[in-house]
Symmetry: C2
Amino acid sequence: MKKQKPLILVTNDDGITAPGIKALVEVMKTLGDVVVVAPDKAQSGMGHAITINNTLRINKTKIYGVMQEYSCSGTPVDCVKFAISKIMHRKPDLCVSGINHGANMSINVIYSGTMSAAVEGGIESIPSIGFSLCDFAIDADFEPSKKIVKTITQKVLENGLPLGVCLNVNIPKLKYELIKGIKICRQARANWVEEIDERTDPSGHPYYWLTGKLENYDEGKKDTDIWALKNNYVSVVPTQFDLTAHDAIEGITKWKM
Amino acid sequence: MKKQKPLILVTNDDGITAPGIKALVEVMKTLGDVVVVAPDKAQSGMGHAITINNTLRINKTKIYGVMQEYSCSGTPVDCVKFAISKIMHRKPDLCVSGINHGANMSINVIYSGTMSAAVEGGIESIPSIGFSLCDFAIDADFEPSKKIVKTITQKVLENGLPLGVCLNVNIPKLKYELIKGIKICRQARANWVEEIDERTDPSGHPYYWLTGKLENYDEGKKDTDIWALKNNYVSVVPTQFDLTAHDAIEGITKWKM
């Protein structure tokens, strides 16, 4: 009996026409039946936002020649919810998001639309992976990433993922032969500092851009994603969505409120 | 020597004019010096979104008669970043968010702008608390909540919070004397199902609303927030922002990629 091909949901946060999702779709077409539901515009930094105070629209597209493809007016998380509740005939075997134009290591996981889509897949009990390339350029070379994406995706299809866990994969901006390997690691403790850039509009009023630089409090620690990427490894961080700080329960219980 | 009053940052996701933040500010004024930086409009469901593809504006307000108060065009997380980087003269001793109009228990913590603001405070190493009242009504009675908020906030000011942990507090919709107590618990495993409501616009085209119902996979488990709220307790969940699934690292490392 022929084994059923895996059904794969593909989304991203850079929008359905971004080169990164094109690369991701190309890999997924070699591994299974593909459904694309992705934002109709860039949705970077949307984190786990969902659209509850406004309506949503979807439109069929014919960009990738896959089983089904739609652009959606909402956030990356909206796209996953839409795909699963409304578009797909059955729950997908895999949900992949990306390939993001730019890194999503360390604390960025929490701001990232790419990773939030993967987390939403995880919440739906679907093995899910977010992929990011550490290169913001629109003409970034996704060819080395495609090999990495295929290797990791095949492993996830073979092994599954523990319930409540998805993967955050970051790929260094390097030729394939210069990538040293794949490291399973933890997210580095880091934070954005000096974040507001003040400017003046033509009418003389101030306006602001979020900006800043990432400060790594785990400098030199070899079990972190920042270390892995700086040392030419692909970083893979198992990522969870149970936000309970279980270790803190006992101490706070002693407060006797 | 007179002890310095704590400096308290107040924000929310329902917007700076919502009754819930008014109640929160009233309590905080009895505990310290208050700075309010809150969204200029409702930002529910924004999760940990930040504004990186657009500009931000802030405006002074004179609603609450506190030390400083501003409305901000961005998300709840933007408000916290703005307050800390640009507005406040020193890092606050406490960051509180809410009181949200509606519950934020269980998986809702990840979609909640209220809680994401508290999480952002935590990322900045500020003891932070998100408060939500399980009542969506605009004329919800916040008086019982004010007593709860004061009790919990005082305890946090006394004891601090472990690094990397903030609190998710949900308050049942009850008269104060009917509230049985405060329970420290974990977030229940739950998920939204049947989420898309399809409608037709006047031109005959479909549009959609996110909706659905919360399915609790931890029904009856007494250590969860859903159980606590159903049984007339205030739920307090210690909440973390290190999303690494540390327990999964060893198993995935064995894949040998």
